[in-house]
Amino acid sequence: MSELDRFRAEVREWIAANYPPSMLSPLGLDSPDTPWGGRKTRYANPDVKAWMERVAAKGWVTPEWQPEHGGAGLSPEHARVLREELAAARCRPAAISFGLMMLAPVLHEFASEEQRRRFLPPIARGEIRWCQGYSEPGAGSDLAGLKTRAEDLGDHYLVNGQKIWTSYADQADWIFCLVRTNTESKHGGISFLLIDMSTPGIEVRPIQLISGKSPFCEVFLTDVRVPKENLVGKPGEGWKIAKRLLQHERASISTHLQTGLGGSPTGRSLADLAKASAGERDGRIADAHLRDAVARHEMKSEAIALTLRRVQEESGRHGPSAASSITKSLGAQHNKDKHELMVEILGLAGVGWEGEPFTTEELEVCRQWLRSKGNSIEGGTSEIQTNIVAKQVLGLPG
């Protein structure tokens, strides 16, 4: 038996002994059992936290990271075996967080070794939950126009300003923040600062969206004192770090792409939804227009799914694929279109807001239809994405 095979057997045995039977069903989208980690997060099922702690104790949340960074120092081959076994046993992820997806990659690339040893292990163990302090009321698409000021007062920065669209700021323990340390240079005056949310002077207000409650918040920073060792990179290097982090963010937004390809919130196909709502004649959707619209949507889904697969194949062979530049806006538009189509299929039941006599599916369609409008705004609007493709991929001037 090879060493890898022994490791595989060991992992398999460990999973059998440690995976909570209460977590055998797959994790739903926006589930209250999403393993965000952190001090404030509460789960419907307490086993979520237990599983996170067990995996973290082995360093297996981030198996390839070094032990001093909270990992297990596994080789890529061993890490692959671990992931294969976890997938084969249908284990849910032990932790999903902005810290893992967005912050950790840039800490690895830009932070000092001291900072890595301080900030990475709590991310790997799911102990600290992070939020992202990027957008401001006056800095949306023009993110580099941000004004939150970090004044150098010798041993610390004094931070004053406001952040907006900060997802889960009310649930997070720390925030990674873009701040202005220099007002002379627009891009060159931005720095990347890590701030403890329990510091005096920070106030968080949740934002109510058109769809009802939402994870988005406003964060107000008033005379917040931040130790200078919390600055990542040099002063003025923030924009470079921010851009790299946005690449990781866009990669993680791919869940939206997948959502547009699926069915109704309860997993029914659009065709079945239409048959139930508009009636069925000889096995066909009775309404010819809806039938055509569903066919159009499903055919586009096939084209998008194939394009996502091609982008992956191309990335595997030749590095980042040019087609990957269009997938974010494409997926956003397709998910919006899917929700418009579901609302159209359900008629007035599709705009039921709450209570009787609406089904959970109908109510969810309505809320998610409204929420989907944000897909082409968050993480860079589709218009900004399109500008980037025009210039960087098509080579258009200006």
Binding site: S269, G283, D292, A295, E302, A303, L306, I326, T386
Partner: protein, 380 residues
């Protein structure tokens, strides 16, 4: 095999693209059009195409072909689409060649396949009877007469019908007017008594013909495959040909887009290249997006053909043809608009792409036809 070209495929595409640019540039189509060339394609170049093995790509070695396969042939069509190359490749190899390959061990079919692989013959597929694609609506009849058959009917929009040496005719030997059952395939010499052929002039300046069959007597050996059992063969012939036509359309869409993109970078107004204006940039990205979606579905459909995934092929053929219809429709319209006044003139090529685009879109099924078919196949 995947959705990304491997080394051999990339090489083939480059060879085919170079060939199309040198031997069949758009000026070739203009010459055929302006001289009202009766043949409608260049026989010398057709022989060169056969010499490159392109006419034998779907034909096995045992019959003189090379069996290079559908993906390879798709790349050739893509290259030919770029220059609006006029050739009988689609009628002879895609439509007729596929039909002849699927009818079993008929000696007449083998003879024709050998001749096709060698580039010695043009075979037209006489099928459609309406201006809109209605594959099962066949009124042409074949009735037994002594030892042979007699065919009567009117075939329309037959690609290369007036220059073909032989016709593969879809005729009804049973069943009702709109049925898939009761159809049979016959091979008919173009010179047979009772065959009348007239060229149709369509906007794309390519080869289309009306074919009248009046009391056409053919021998028993003219029946290809089982009497009344051609429905399944026809379905597969159409799907192969839809996908390969989509490959030509993909080449057209890319060329029209690239030409337009160059124009956006070069044309100056208000002291700046018009491609610096956001209104045009965003529409250019829209075209680029549709082209990338088209590339994915086309390459998947071609792969499915090579892998013999016949359960997937009907669905993918419809997704593919509808996708390329829509992409080419958008790109051909935008190409004219973004060229401004000069785009309306015969002097630049974009108008030629627009004209060929609409012919190709209506051939073998509009997008609405394929959405309807997709819904049927998916049982909704």
């Amino acid at each position: 095999m995947g959705l990304v070209l491997d080394h051999d495929q990339a090489l083939l595409r480059n060879t085919a693209t170079d060939f199309a640019r040198q031997r069949l540039p758009v000026t070739n189509l203009r010459r055929l059009r302006d001289t009202r060339d009766a043949t409608g394609f260049d026989r010398e170049v057709w022989a060169e195409m056969a010499g490159l093995g392109w006419t034998g790509m779907l034909i096995p070695d045992s019959l003189g072909g090379n069996g290079f396969g559908y993906f390879g042939l798709g790349l050739v069509f893509e290259a030919l689409g770029r220059t609006l190359a006029a050739s009988p490749l689609h009628s002879t190899v895609a439509l007729s060649g596929t039909a002849l390959s699927l009818v079993g061990d008929a000696p007449r079919a083998h003879e024709l396949l050998r001749a096709i692989a060698a580039g010695e013959t043009v075979v037209a597929f006489a099928h459609e009877e309406h201006a809109r694609h209605r594959p099962w609506s066949i009124a042409t009849t074949a009735r037994r007469d002594g030892d042979g058959w007699v065919l009567d009917g009117h075939k329309r929009f037959v690609a290369d019908g007036h220059v073909a040496d032989a016709l593969v005719v879809v005729a009804r030997t049973g069943g009702g007017r709109e049925d898939a059952d009761g159809l049979s395939l016959f091979v008919v010499d173009a010179s047979a008594s009772g065959v009348t052929r007239g060229r149709l002039s369509l906007a794309d300046s390519r080869n289309h013909a009306d074919v009248e069959l009046a009391n056409v007597r053919v021998p028993r050996s003219a029946l290809l495959g089982a009497e009344g059992g051609a429905g399944a063969v026809l379905e597969r012939v159409l799907d192969v040909s839809r996908i390969l036509l989509a490959a030509e359309m993909f080449g057209m869409a890319q060329q029209a887009f690239e030409t337009t993109l160059d124009y956006l970078k070069q044309r100056q107004q208000f002291g700046a290249p018009i491609g610096s204006f956001q209104a045009l940039q965003h529409r250019a990205v829209q075209m680029y997006t549709e082209i990338e979606l088209s590339r994915s579905v086309l390459y998947e459909a071609l792969t499915a053909l090579d892998e013999g995934r016949w359960d997937d092929v009907p669905r993918l053929a419809s997704v593919c043809k509808a996708c390329l219809n829509d992409t080419l429709h958008l790109v051909s319209n935008e190409a004219v608009q973004m060229h401004g006044g000069i785009g309306m003139t015969d002097q630049v090529d974009v108008g030629l792409y627009l004209k060929r685009a609409r012919v190709a879109e209506a051939t073998l099924g509009t997008s609405a036809f394929h959405r309807e078919r997709y819904a049927d196949l998916q049982r909704f």
